[in-house]
């Protein structure tokens, strides 16, 4: 009997609260997808160097998932509260008929169980299905292909989803039991008749609060623009605090402000149902302003994480060349036994089949006498070493006469050494007619900046060797070459490298950057989607529950002869205002925030911000717009059910 009751209740809730179920299902689905990354990556032919990255990413996802679960828990509790409120009358009937509170809690428990199981199963099925797409997506990051379609299923993620959502539903059950044990029959019976106490603020107060909110927001924007998100200093926190306060005040005063403004324009106020709609919003704003503020901030986070994720993606794409001019760079510091690269190459020779061109180059420290005005390191390179390096790219060798040098100043903004230097007491002339090799310049920039002067070979003798480098362009298959040189380095290590070395390959760097990109994009999408769904769902649930509170009002309007079109428009306007105002403010917030983030990102590389914003807008339009439409339809349906009763 109780099971039947519970089951019927759920079936009815299914119809009324499509959005509640959708949100639960989406939540489970996304939770599963992003936690199944581990299983996804195993399928792909990801190089071992990348495995660690995936491990880190999986760990980050683990931590994030706790956070996401907390957000979803709040969302589900919030939604549950609305469901409970809607059913006060039903609970009152059970109590009135003498059903003990324990039994009522039992019914609710069963209901939560049924709802939970249902959404869990649907969500997981959807998740398993959609996560197949994730494999393809992840594969793109590593530029590998899924050679053969294989159905991926992550048992770990499944168990985790069940565990986390199990805990959430357990919380919901506790919450329900608590609220049943605390409710009084008289309150339940009168719940329908009790109106929200209308606290109206005077015109002056509304306007004052509104202006205050604008000032607060303005100050917050100024702080963050000035701070540039470079440091978490007092200015940054001031911006956050002022922004939050401004946002809350904005929503607190907006409806009153809007009402007064429209009221002063009688033509607008008395047109259609404008008066009714505005009053509707104003009457609920005392409870709605907080959730609207929270939604606004969540939307800001959504827009922020999405476009930063996308923007980062764009920014990182082409920068590999800037970091790694050669396929392989190996730098070794002088030791007791071997001094420079050539000694090592003699000890462990390289298989030249994998080498297209290569060069070795020695860097010496020199004490130059030049008025430089800064403290950058100074290196000396011999002409023959330089020519070797330049020859890798087919550049003609340079020949420096006595008393001449070639300055290389790779870091922009440093004073170039083209005014002449004093070398061992003698004045030297700069050959500014020669352009330094571009890859070599990039390499030096990556080594930490510093200036290089190329001197004739004889001038270099007797200087202290700082380090020496081996630069290689691969021949043939990149991965094979990479694997070969991995082995070569291992041989060298077995042989013994005393002075310390550093090895960088373009491929490793590229994969590292891709990993970074994957991380940012993954986190951005995960959090973005969760925040977006959460905010849209909060608004939708609020509107739907409000619509059911308003059923009698719409019924009255119908009796007075308002036609369906007008009522539909009034409902749409109301829902539209609730959805668009927080979005609008969030867009303004993020416009300011993204200006700052854009400046940050350009330091990572060229970013195509427009594309990332368009991408974000598209996702927003689909998810948020979808929720908006579903809410409008749901509200219209609810407003209609009353009149048919």
């Amino acid at each position: 009997m109780f099971f039947k009751l519970a089951f019927q209740n759920v079936r009815r809730s299914l119809r009324d609260y499509t959005i509640y179920f959708l949100t639960l299902t989406f939540g489970v689905c996304i939770f599963y997808i992003f936690n199944s990354l581990d299983a996804q990556s195993k399928l792909l032919n990801i190089p071992t160097s990348q495995q660690r990255l995936i491990e880190v990413l999986v760990m980050v996802m683990d931590v994030l998932s706790v956070f996401v679960a907390v957000v979803l828990a709040f969302l589900i509790l919030y939604a549950n509260r609305f469901l409970m409120r809607r059913r006060k009358k039903e609970l009152a009937i059970y109590l009135l008929l003498g059903m003990p509170k324990g039994k009522i809690s039992g019914i609710l428990l069963l209901e939560t169980l049924v709802i939970g199981l249902f959404s869990l199963v649907v969500g997981l099925c959807l998740g398993v299905f959609l996560s197949q797409g994730l494999t393809v997506w992840v594969a793109q990051f590593f530029e590998t292909k899924v050679e053969q379609f294989q159905f991926v299923f992550s048992a770990a993620s499944l168990l985790k989803s069940i565990l986390y959502f199990g805990i959430i539903f357990l919380l919901v059950m506790c919450f329900n039991t608590l609220s049943v044990s605390r409710c009084k029959l008289i309150d339940l019976m009168q719940a329908q008749h009790r109106n929200e106490v209308l606290k109206l603020r005077s015109l002056k107060l509304s306007v004052a609060l509104f202006l205050l909110s604008l000032v607060s927001l303005g100050l917050a924007y100024r702080c963050i623009l000035h701070n540039g998100m470079m440091a978490l200093d007092r200015e940054f926190w001031a911006a956050i605090l002022l922004g939050s306060v401004g946002t809350v005040l904005f929503f607190l005063s907006l409806s009153g402000f809007l009402l007064r403004v429209v009221q002063s324009n009688k033509g607008l106020y008395y047109r259609n149902l404008n008066m009714f709609v505005l009053r509707q919003i104003n009457s609920k704003i005392n409870t709605a302003y907080l959730s609207m503020s929270v939604v606004c901030i969540m939307l800001l986070l959504t827009i922020g994480t999405f476009s930063t994720g996308f923007g980062f993606n764009q920014a990182i794409g082409d920068q590999v060349d800037n970091y790694a001019p050669y396929d392989l760079m190996w730098i070794v510091y002088p030791g007791e036994k071997e001094e420079d690269v050539d000694d090592y190459l003699q000890a462990v020779p390289i298989d030249t089949r994998y080498v297209s061109t290569m060069a070795t180059c020695r860097f010496y420290s020199g004490s130059l006498q030049a008025d430089l005005g800064d403290t950058r390191e100074l290196y000396v390179v011999s002409q023959s070493d330089y020519n070797q390096v330049a020859a890798m790219e087919g550049e003609a060798p340079i020949s420096l006469g006595a008393g001449e040098y070639l300055p290389i100043t790779p870091v922009q903004g440093d004073t170039p050494l083209d005014q002449g230097i004093r070398w061992r007491g003698e004045p030297f002339q700069a050959r500014i007619d020669l352009t330094p090799n571009a890859s070599f310049s990039t390499l030096i920039a990556q080594m930490g900046g510093g200036r290089v002067v190329v001197l004739p070979d004889e001038e270099v003798q007797g200087l202290d060797l700082l380090n020496s480098g081996l630069y290689i362009y691969y021949q043939g298959d990149q991965r094979q070459a990479e694997a070969y040189f991995d082995g070569w380095l291992q041989q060298l290590r077995d042989y013994g490298i005393e002075g310390g070395y550093s090895m960088m390959t373009r491929m490793a760097l590229y994969e590292g950057l891709m990993g970074q990109k994957l991380m940012v994009v993954f986190i951005g999408t995960y959090l973005g989607v969760v925040f977006l769904i959460a905010s849209a769902a909060v608004l939708a649930l609020q509107q739907l529950s409000e619509a059911s509170d308003n059923q009698s009002r719409y019924a009255l309007l119908r009796k007075l002869g308002v036609d369906e079109k007008m009522i539909g428009r009034a409902i749409d306007t109301q829902v539209g205002i609730y959805f668009l105002v927080p979005l609008g403010l969030a867009i303004v917030h993020s416009a300011v925030g993204l200006t700052v983030v854009n400046n940050l990102l350009t330091s990572f590389g060229e970013s195509n911000f427009l594309a990332s914003i368009l991408g974000t807008a598209a996702i927003l339009l689909v998810v948020y717009g979808g929720y908006f439409l579903a809410t409008c339809l749901g509200c219209r349906n609810i407003s209609r059910t009353w009149s048919s009763q």
């Binding site: 149902l273 009053r279 009002r553 309007l557 009796k559 007075l560 002869g561 308002v562 036609d563």
Partner: protein
């Protein structure tokens, strides 16, 4: 006198084949312009069903209802709401004011639905409010008003569109006797000074005594008709009581 309402052999059934309930069976009557007609009957007699049919909120099973020369039973669903807002005014037992709007806005709502020019709205509200004595409470919210005040605001909302017919469903049902008296006097004002045609459903003899004519309904049929004529309200009240006791006195059938 023009005929405002013509109810012609109206029948209304509820339920399905297995379980058919006849709420109204073969009722016919007419209401002239400027009349103040009461419909009395016990709970379940079908009076509210009849009112809902006239109000175009419910549909009849058979028969015709014409309001202001228009057969409302033949109107399509889309035309019904337009008809309601143009021709009918409503007063309900539970006031049915929108609690989010002030009294003034509640009254204005009826006009904005009709898309009345904005300029005339405030003037006509002022006009009606003066007649009903609610000028001082226009800026208050329903929760700040007493039941009688709320009902007079509802009256103002019903009359402001100058409807052909005002339908009142147990308007005094939720009022104390003093407020009820005040309200009924307001009805008199509407009827006399503003020329409103009023159709009121009630089961209270005192409330009914303010009408010009009363139809008694029992088991979905017209049982009796009383016309006040030249008699005082006191005398009319006595006559109503007599009919009511006759209406309730079914003892001979029971025993």
């Amino acid at each position: 006198m023009a005929q405002i309402l013509k109810v012609d052999r109206v029948e209304k059934y509820y339920g399905n084949k297995g379980n058919l309930t006849r709420a109204i069976s073969d009722i016919s009557f007419q209401v002239e312009q400027g009349e103040f007609l009461g419909i009395m009957g016990a709970s379940g007699s079908g009076k509210t069903t009849l009112l809902n049919c006239i109000a175009t909120i419910d549909t009849v099973t058979a028969g015709n209802i014409s309001i202001d020369g228009k057969n409302v039973t033949a109107l399509k669903a889309g035309e019904l709401s337009a008809f309601r807002r143009e021709k009918l005014g409503f007063i309900f037992q539970d006031f049915n004011l929108l609690d989010t709007l002030t009294a003034r806005e509640n009254i204005a709502l009826a006009l904005t639905i009709l898309k009345t020019p904005v300029k005339t709205i405030e003037a006509s509200i002022k006009d009606v409010a003066e007649k009903l004595g609610i000028t001082s409470i226009l800026n208050k919210y329903p929760y700040q008003l007493s039941g009688g005040e709320k009902q007079r605001v509802a009256c103002a909302r019903a009359i402001i569109t100058r409807p052909a017919l005002i339908l009142a469903d147990e308007p005094t049902g939720a009022l104390d006797s003093k407020s009820a008296r005040l309200l009924l006097e307001s009805f008199g004002t509407l009827n006399r000074d503003l020329g409103a045609t009023i159709l009121m459903v009630t089961h209270d003899a005192f409330t009914a005594s303010y009408c010009h004519r009363i139809l008694f309904i029992k088991d979905g049929k017209i049982f009796n008709e009383l016309i006040r004529g030249a008699s005082t309200r006191q005398e009319f009240f006595q006559r109503i009581i007599e009919v009511v006791s006759l209406l309730g006195g079914d003892s001979s059938h029971v025993f």
